[in-house]
């Protein structure tokens, strides 16, 4: 046996995608919140009545992440068997 299970390669790739997605999520969230939110309140703009920094950071940010999760899971995640079965010690 050569020590590496073929399923691990997939698992490792998907874990890295998870880290990447979290980093992207953080940058988006932080960028809009503090990029737009640090202006004085008098200069705030509003979207649907919500302060623009909040709307883009939290509402749009959440939607973007949700869409990304769906796309990533549907198109990049691979289904693998979890049980050992026949591939025991290939």
């Amino acid at each position: 046996m050569n020590g590496t299970d073929w399923r691990f390669k997939i698992a490792h790739r998907e874990a890295l995608i998870g880290v990447g997605l979290a980093l992207f999520n953080f940058v988006w969230w932080f960028g809009f919140a503090y990029g737009m939110g640090s202006a004085p309140v008098e200069e705030y703009t509003y979207v649907f009545g919500l302060p623009a920094w909040f709307f883009y950071s939290c509402v749009v940010g959440f939607l973007v992440i949700a869409v990304l999760v769906i796309v990533i899971v549907k198109f990049f995640f691979v289904e693998v068997p979890f049980d050992e079965e026949e591939e025991e010690k290939r």
Binding site: A11, G18, G37, V41, L50, G61, V69, F77, K89
Partner: protein, 482 residues
Amino acid sequence: MNYAVLIPMIIFLILIFFIGYWSSRKLSSSSNFIADYFLGGRELGGFVLAMTMVATYGSASSFLGGPGTAYTMGFGWVLLAMTQVVTGYFVLMILGKKFAIMARRYKAVTMIDFLKARYDSKAVVLLSALSIIIFLFSAMAAQWIGGARLIESLTGLSYNSALFLFAVSVLVYVTIGGFRAVALTDAVQGAVMLIGTLILLVAVIVAGGGIPNIVQDLINENPNLVTPYGAEGNLSAAYVSSFWILVGVGVVGLPQIAVRAMSYKNSRSMHRALIIGTLVTGIIMLNMHLIGVFARPILPGIDVGDKVIPLIALETLPAWLAGIVLAAPMAAIMSTVDSLLLIVSSSIVRDVYLNYIKPEAELKTIKRISFGVTAMLGIGVFLLALDPPDLLIFLNLFAFGGLEAAFIWPVVLGLYWKCGNKYGAIASMITGIGTYVALHFYNQEYGNLLGVHTVTFPVLLSLVAFIAFSLLVGRKAYDYAG
């Protein structure tokens, strides 16, 4: 007593009982009691899995405390709460397939089983069991107090009677049904939370005369309420960002969450759970905390944060609907409590008793002890919650952060880094908990070190400890295929 509010809640509790009973019948016909009682037999589908994670995670703090703080702090706290969306996908993506595969190979039923098989060390097992028992027991007691307070404020019963009512409902179905009952009722409770928060958010916006109107009222009262910096301007970007560790990525290290990542049926249900979990967490967190902020102009001057949600529901909704909506925080508290109860009792029965006291115990004995320990723990928590000692409140304060600092690296690096070994794991756990406790006192005394939440540095330090000790002491590559 407010019967119009009470009756929907009671119907809800009866429904929960029914599910517990139904899954206990399934349990008695099962061939593998341990895996079934503590893990639901690794056959959870995507929807149930997602909901059980959301419901376990969404505790009293996200349904009562969080919105209450948003009420005082304004939009800045909603921003902070949204860091929790990441848990919806991060835990399942990081632990993901490798954890599921390894857990099956090790035949692991709890997170400690996994650590035991990975590190092959008695010290690791006992250290983890001890931290789980101490920290989660306290966390659980705090939830019971929250649950009792909620019943108290709705029914007008005395605190003690409310606590009793709560304890009986939780105990009955956890004891008889085990994990499957907990997971299934979590699914129902998760759905209740989702729908409840949507209804309440709409009602609050209508009562406040539309969002622009509410936001204008907030600005008139205190412009800081609509900034990311909190009502007093004291929520710094660094502090809010450090919640990414506490309630975001660090959640990977929480045993009650990690155990769910070994319970899915196949990768299809895991994929589905990823999507549903992200959507549901995001919607619930956004809604609940916005409700908290929007409640401010409608009902000014509430001084106890935990009461904001019950009061605003009673104010803006017809009584019967308020009863259904308030079943949501009730659901959140109950589902957190029951999974904590199960984790603690599984630590005692599986990780300590079966591993080290009596490994060859018969099935009948194991069954009796599992029920017994779960029930005893429940009674113990009940007695503590009757008159909470200071120590309990104190332990609960760092229950989650402490567990995260202790477990995140032994779990994650144990899974992905072949050089990780038991010395690293032990050092990492001791460093994590030790520095967490020490820093907790330091921060209380002198204000947060570098302006970030207490959990930040212990998580970093325990990473350093894990790597350093793994490389320096007994370095040897681990064979994942072995």
